[in-house]
């Protein structure tokens, strides 16, 4: 009995001693700033900065391998705090929110078939290209809403809508969308082109009532190509978010009605 107690206590003591010695002599010296930067970050581990979690971003920041200001969730306050810890110039952070670049609701677009499969955009798109006539538009099966850590996306009338107040700009929805039609845009921009279809106007007309025709009327109304408020890829107008237009009349003047003023969905609260 006494021997048993002595042996167990001995094993415990030897183990504790080995751990104490290992902790003392084998400890890895980490830069204390990593802990400070980690504490300053929001800790949501959303991955929006492109690093594996807040801790990964903190390590990259201290190692000088990441730009300050990549944390969209933390915003300017966190960037200033990190700059203070690391002694850097605070980078200016513009808050970015997700924008679903499609306004072809169920009533506006034609459907080319019935899709009865699982409620997932990726699977729907893989099944003969999806049930929506437009090959570029929102499928409305909520792949973006399912990955959103903030539950900021809801589906209404076959279209995903982002609630601006809740969006932290992590970009998970951007990569979840099989049609790649979600973009992170500056939160203070108000005029948006809600279409993702780059083909010619008549082809767009066949499948959607509100698709961009590529008529360049918005560009002309906003001061011509020299003003640089819009860019075009194929027959699709895009807002130049470096230099966004502010004239709210543009929405009313768009013949396809695919330009919208502040299309983000806001909840009643």
């Amino acid at each position: 009995m006494l021997i048993a107690i002595a042996v167990i206590a001995g094993i415990g003591f030897v183990g504790a001693l080995a751990l104490a010695i290992a902790d003392r002599y084998l400890a890895v010296k980490e830069d204390p700033r990593i802990g400070l930067v980690s504490a300053a970050l929001p800790g949501a581990n959303c991955g929006g900065c492109g690093f594996p979690g807040c801790d990964g971003y903190a390590r990259a920041l201290v190692a000088g391998k990441a730009p300050n200001g990549a944390c969209a969730a933390g915003g300017a306050a966190v960037a200033t705090e990190i700059a203070r810890i690391l002694g850097l110039e605070a980078a200016s952070v513009t808050r970015r929110v997700a924008l679903v670049k499609c306004c072809g609701s169920r009533s506006e677009t034609i459907r080319v078939g019935d899709y009865n499969g699982l409620c997932d955009c990726g699977l729907a798109a893989a099944t003969a290209g999806g049930d929506k006539g437009c090959r570029y538009g929102c499928l409305g099966y909520g792949a973006c809403a399912n990955v959103c850590p903030q539950h900021a996306i809801s589906i209404t009338d076959g279209l995903a809508k982002v609630e601006k107040r809740l969006c932290i700009g992590c970009g998970k929805c951007v990569s979840a969308c099989p049609r790649r039609l979600i973009e992170l845009v500056p939160a203070d921009a108000t005029i948006h082109v809600l279409c993702n279809n780059p083909v010619r106007g008549p082809e767009v007309r066949k499948v959607c009532g509100t698709g961009c025709l590529g008529c360049h009327l918005c560009e002309r109304n906003a001061g011509g190509p020299a003003a640089g408020h819009f860019t075009f890829s194929g027959f699709l107008a895009k807002v130049n978010y470096e230099n966004p237009p502010t004239d709210e009349q543009l929405a009313a003047k768009c013949p396809a009605k695919c330009i919208s003023v502040d299309p983000h969905w806001e909840s009643a609260e």
């Binding site: 183990g15 084998l26 890895v28 699982l118």
Partner: protein, 195 residues
Amino acid sequence: MSYYLMILVGAVLVNNFVLSRFLGCCPFLGVSKRTETALGMSGAVVFVMTVAAAVTWCVDRWLLQPNGLGYVHTLAFILVIAALVQFIDIAMKRFLPALHAALGIFLPLITTNCAVLGAAEINCKQGSGFFESVFFSFSAALGFGFALLVFSGLREKLAHANPPACFRGVAVALVAGGLLSLAFMGFSGLVKLPY
């Protein structure tokens, strides 16, 4: 040679640690949601179980049995394995940072894993030799990893399924685990078991 092959087949397929002996069920359900994490966990278990078998064999044969203390081996093994895993964690962080980055977060989970303790217990009960013990633990850990990987593959598919509301989540995972265990019962009688 064929004896070791029998140990291997016996531990991986016939008496699989998770699916036949029901040891290590907690990580089997806990870290089987994604194949990458299952792979990391399997690697960590193989590593820790093999090292733990070697150390516990030495403790049992040279410290406990000469003093007639076979009856406290469970208690002693818990202490030894817990200290060992902590020590490996510290040493690995220092000397093998790449391996620590891959396995590090799983090591604390294994500290009190019943699969690790169970392998040491079985070795002790069998009274087998050093290399036999180490090889058995290695094979058992491989079996654990095999079951974990198969199950994580199943669960990744299950995530896309649409079961009735009352079955969603852990319930349907447990049903799938039971069916997998049933499938492994088909291996019984495959080899004449040394264990």
